[in-house]
Symmetry: C2
Subunit: 103 residues, 2 copies
């Protein structure tokens, strides 16, 4: 299983509508990716590791697929529509990472 | 539910023993934190979002607790032992984030 992590940096001036992200954007993504996307999770950044430190990411979404190819095949045809929705909830540019889920 | 994400940057010269991390370090953490740690996951970074881009993090661990206080109470007494094990699998300094799991 692989995980696609979409991580939104917590920079000064960052705007992020957590409700829109959870209630509109991620359901849209799941609907378009269909069964290829096994499940997903949504995080709201609370704090960093050191006392009083801010979270590195204001929010993160993690989506699970059987393989990187399964993700690419499912995402490609809908990339334009999904990416066009991002300004509706944030002015930040996400960092994206694909990971192998080892445990 | 909150999630503690421990993210190891993928920098030039980064050393990371994924097997030790999954088979030794994380089980040690779980054993010390006990029931306060509901579950955990381990990721191995494969790639970034752009074609050919490296993963931002060489590895990530995510641990789940009822609250940030539950994490702090469970981690504090064992922090020294847990942190002392880090050089056994990596020469990198992790970025830590606490998130609220919204979905």
């Amino acid at each position: 299983m692989i995980k696609v992590s979409v991580m939104y940096p917590n920079k000064p001036g960052a705007r992020f509508d957590h409700d829109y992200y959870r209630d509109k954007h991620m359901p849209l993504v799941k609907a378009r990716l269909g069964e290829a996307c096994k499940t997903y999770t949504v995080d709201k950044g609370l704090a960093g590791g050191a006392p009083g430190a801010p979270a590195t990411y204001v929010a993160m979404g993690h989506l699970y697929f059987d393989s990187a190819d399964a993700f690419a095949s499912a995402f490609g045809p809908h990339a334009q529509e999904i990416l066009a929705d991002i300004p509706n909830y944030t002015n930040t540019q996400p960092t994206i990472q694909i990971s192998d889920v080892k445990a």
